[in-house]
């Protein structure tokens, strides 16, 4: 029998879900994210049995993890947790890595204290859906004053069309600890629709130092991803967050990073590469709730095919949050005449004595750069690949994670090879 706090929250969420229509997101007339092609009624949760080894799962999982040693791992396939492991020595020191469903039973007080502190079912139909319907889920708790260098890994896998996956990750890194958390959303290429509606919340307690990476690679199927991810950073804590978007038919994500107490510092570096008819809509907020906090956000994207990508980045500094220092910039690179990118950095500052600035560009590969590289003997297509990789390098290096960096570089190179003819033609015409 689940604890009453959870039951109440699910009930409240269900009410919102049933009341709210399927939303359409519009901005300034020319940008619309519409779910009219999503056949929600045809999708449902799919349950699976646990596996003894990752090799029994779709190879996209082992392709992304590459046998790396992990501090803990939770794999959720569809609606079910199918694999869990945790380093026993670290577990002995108090590290908890388990399905959220299980943590609700076994660590009720701890979960109740943090669960949906920063997420709300009231934010719309899909946040309500994940709050009402999530199963499995992931719970990570890093106790005080320990340093964990190996990654804490959460994987959400969708490998069959027709799947509706409602996900919830709750992570807490307690005072003075150091940890690296990765959440991957993966799918093999398949034909048909699927939905991932996810909630993610991470609490970086005072003086903690947390690295966070998100990798989204939903493959070539029609996976719709509507998720909200929030990170709260407490006093004197630091969080470096790198979200990576490498594939998804339609993505609508809200990423918020909140410097909640003095001395909190956030670094938010994201990248996306969209192709074919993908549609990506990401809205990040860098919210400064207290003064003497610092932030830096850089988002970079590239687009091929007829893909659409919108990045909206907001810096919000609340009343009284003086001595805040923050910067946001966004760049997108068009690699196809039919792709469209939109970048909107903005600022809401309700106090004085802050330093906040932003900038944005929509750029394209320069023929002059390509010619220059060709004069060094590098063939045109390779030159373009190197230029795109170089463009992303600033973000990729922020991962500071050899294994994931290699995954990202290889995937980007693969996408460029796939779009080679089109990219080459486009740049030649410019």
């Amino acid at each position: 029998m689940p604890p009453s706090f959870l039951e109440e929250r699910r009930k409240a969420a269900l009410e919102v879900y049933e009341r709210e229509p399927i939303p359409t997101w519009r901005r300034s007339g020319f940008w619309t994210t519409s779910l009219r092609k999503l056949r929600l009624d045809e999708l449902g949760p799919r349950r699976y049995d646990p596996v003894a080894s990752l090799d029994e799962l779709s190879p996209v999982v082992t392709d992304a993890l590459r046998g790396e040693e992990l501090a803990g791992l939770i794999v959720q396939r569809g609606a079910s947790t199918v694999y869990t492991e945790v380093d026993p020595a670290l577990a002995g020191q108090g590290l908890i890595v388990m399905p959220l469903e299980q943590a609700v039973e076994e660590h009720t007080e701890l979960v109740e204290r943090w669960y949906m502190k920063r997420l709300s079912e009231k934010e719309g139909k899909f946040p309500a859906a994940s709050a009402a319907f999530w199963t499995g889920g992931a719970f990570v708790y890093v106790p005080r004053d320990i340093a964990i260098d190996k990654p804490l890994q959460v994987v959400y896998l969708i490998d069959e069309p027709g799947t509706a996956q409602y996900a919830h990750t709750l992570a807490i890194v307690d005072e003075g600890s150091k940890a690296y958390l990765r959440e991957y959303c993966l799918a093999p290429d398949f034909e048909g629709q699927a939905l991932h509606a996810g909630g993610f919340e991470l609490y970086c307690r005072p003086s903690s130092n947390v690295k966070l990476a998100h990798l989204q690679d939903w493959g070539a199927g029609e996976v719709h991803d509507i998720s909200t991810k929030r990170v709260e950073i407490a006093a004197d804590a630091h969080c470096g967050w790198v979200p990576i978007y490498l594939g998804g038919r339609l993505t609508k994500q809200t990423l918020d990073i909140i410097t909640a107490e003095r001395g909190a510092d956030m670094r938010h570096n994201g990248l996306y590469f969209t192709e074919r008819d993908e549609h990506l809509d990401v809205f990040t907020t860098d919210l400064h709730e207290q003064g003497h906090t610092t932030g830096d956000t850089v988002f970079k994207g590239a687009l091929t095919g007829e893909s659409r990508a919108s990045y909206e980045g907001l810096i919000e500094i609340v009343h009284g949050a003086q001595e805040t220092n923050t910067y946001l910039q966004t760049h997108s690179m068009l690699l196809s005449p039919k792709a469209k990118a939109d970048a909107i950095p903005s600022l809401i500052v309700k106090t004085d004595s802050v330093s906040a600035s932003h900038g944005g560009t929509v750029g394209e590969i320069d023929e002059e750069q390509v010619f220059y590289m060709q004069t060094r003997g590098v063939p045109r297509l390779e030159a373009i690949r190197i230029l795109v990789e170089g463009y992303f390098e600033e973000i990729v290096q922020k991962l500071d994670d050899e294994v994931l960096e290699a995954v990202v570089r290889e995937r980007i190179a693969g996408k460029l090879t796939e779009a080679a003819a089109e990219v080459e033609e486009y740049i030649a015409q410019r």
């Binding site: 320069d366 023929e367 002059e368 750069q369 010619f371 220059y372 590289m373 060709q374 004069t375 060094r376 003997g377 590098v378 063939p379 045109r380 390779e382 030159a383 190197i386 230029l387 990789e389 170089g390 463009y391 992303f392 390098e393 600033e394 030649a428």
Partner: protein, 250 residues
């Protein structure tokens, strides 16, 4: 072994810039191509390298007798032609070392070993007095004028071209930087390389002595001679040539 320009006519979108240029650079020779701004010097350099912004309407470029007029820039480069740019492009996110390795490998069947590459790179960096940290910086990003030119010469040293065109490599350099670049060019000069130094000024020629000097005016080579021609220009400026050519035409 030669780089041969035959009756070359070149235009951009707006107008004809080269109006029949003939020039032969043999391996082992150093040529200086001089001329006032707008005379067509950089157009010639870019056309030799295959810049798609310039259209050859007549004439040929021959490399060791082979017609490369229509070849892609990277084919020309792999065949042994090099150009040091006046304004090299910035390549963000690609370190000098990685770029050099890519360029060296572009000419090879098998990629160069890390060890061999490191040795050649270190030797050339010493030769050109390049700071070791230089190669970990992104190519030309935030480089000073002198650093950009030095990076160009370092690339030339690593690629060992048969023919090198230096497009205004001396412009924007203070005397120290000019000397370092000139020393680099002198160190790389030799029987294996033909060099075409394109310059507006004579000062680099005080350090890199050319075998032949050509003067370009309005898309044509109007005077040719030995190094003394450069000395003459140093004293007289370009007006003298303009007057003589003008008088000849009249």
């Amino acid at each position: 072994m030669s780089l041969e320009i035959k009756n070359l006519h070149v235009r951009t979108e707006e107008k004809e810039i080269l109006k029949g240029v003939d020039l032969v650079v043999r391996r082992g020779e150093t040529h200086a191509l001089m001329g006032p701004n707008g005379s067509g010097k950089s157009t010639l350099a870019n056309t030799i390298m295959g810049n798609p912004n310039y259209e050859v309407t007549e004439g040929q470029i021959l490399l060791n007798g082979e017609d490369i007029t229509e070849a892609e820039p990277d084919e020309r480069a792999r065949a042994g032609v090099f150009m040091a740019f006046q304004y090299p492009a910035t390549i963000p996110g690609v370190s000098v070392a990685n770029f050099l390795r890519t360029a060296v490998n572009a000419k090879r069947e098998e990629p160069i070993s890390v060890k061999e590459f490191g040795q050649i790179l270190r030797a050339n960096m010493e030769l050109l007095k390049v700071d070791p940290q230089f190669t970990s910086r992104y190519l030309n990003e935030g480089f000073s004028g002198g650093e950009k030119k030095r990076a160009e010469i370092l690339q030339m040293a690593m690629l060992k071209p048969e023919f090198a065109v230096l497009d205004e490599t001396d412009s924007g350099l203070d005397i120290d930087a000019l000397r370092i670049v000139a020393d680099g060019v002198n160190a790389l000069r030799g029987p294996e390389m033909g060099t075409l130094i394109i310059t507006h000024y004579t000062r680099i020629l005080n350090y890199v002595r050319p075998d032949f000097v050509h003067i370009m005016l309005d898309g044509r080579i109007v005077r040719e001679g030995g190094p003394e021609l450069a000395d003459h220009l140093e004293e007289q400026g370009y007006d003298w040539i303009r007057e003589e050519v003008g008088a000849g035409a009249a």
